[in-house]
Amino acid sequence: MRAYDFIENRLQCLVEHFPQMKVSYEFDGFSNSHFIEVLPSNEFRENLEYSKYETNLIIDFISEFPNEEIVFVTKNDLMTIENPLFIKKGSLYENKPLFWNSITWSNNSILDFNLKFKRFLGNNISSIDLANAGVVSFDSDSIIISPLKEEPVDLIVNSDDFALAA
């Protein structure tokens, strides 16, 4: 099996295992390195389960193809992917709802929702077109807001790690 096939197979498994992620692949012939850009960058940096998965992939690759290199990068890294040979997106990557974790202030779910929503707006959003947004669900830990399917929601989010559904 060629290194390319190995990588393509494993990255397919990766986005199935982590459907919120997207990977882009590029080969750098000068350094004989296979580059994989992983997004969102916060998942790349903070998701422990993903870190273990990636580490195992690196170890397997080195053992199978010691002549070549595999390098995982993310946004704002030293190297960037400019001309990807392929891109694989997890099923939740593009349609990932906007969500955030919060705490519960009271047993009144509507009050909690309002407080969380206000806090969220203050922290994360400069403007939101509420006419086109629909609240899908919320519970004690999180609120999930998805846009109506017919119209894209005009969201301006301070952190560009949030994938915008549209």
Binding site: D28, F30, S31, N32, S33, F35, S51, K52, E54, T55, I58, I59, I62, P66, N67, E68, E69, I70, V71, F72, V73, D77, L78, M79
Partner: protein, 137 residues
Amino acid sequence: MSGWKLKSEKNIKGAELLIKNSLCSSSVHCSYYSNVQLMLHILFTDFGKSESEIETEAKQGSVDENGYHNWLKNTITRELVTRDFMIVRDFNNFFGQLKALRVKGDYKNSLINESKAIDAVSFSKNINQILEDKFRV
């Protein structure tokens, strides 16, 4: 202190001086070699290999693993797996990126800007820190 360790330290200083003097493309070479030299030092101190053993193994490793640097990185990585599994990806990805940037700086018909050169120093320092934390240096 071995010659490798001393050269590793000088190369980081060299990279910073080159950037200060606007020689950014040349600086990446120094940042990268600081890591290579510290890895050689680790084979000498932590792995307990003599210079001639390193030379012999490197010669064979270069054939088996597509070059001296690849062999060196793989040798360190295999040991790192046993010492701290979770740090392997940082070591692999930092070094892989720095290596690619160094190849670009040395061989490609494009220049490295100051921002990238500064990042390269930072990557190199991070790699050296991982090595210092996990191996006897």
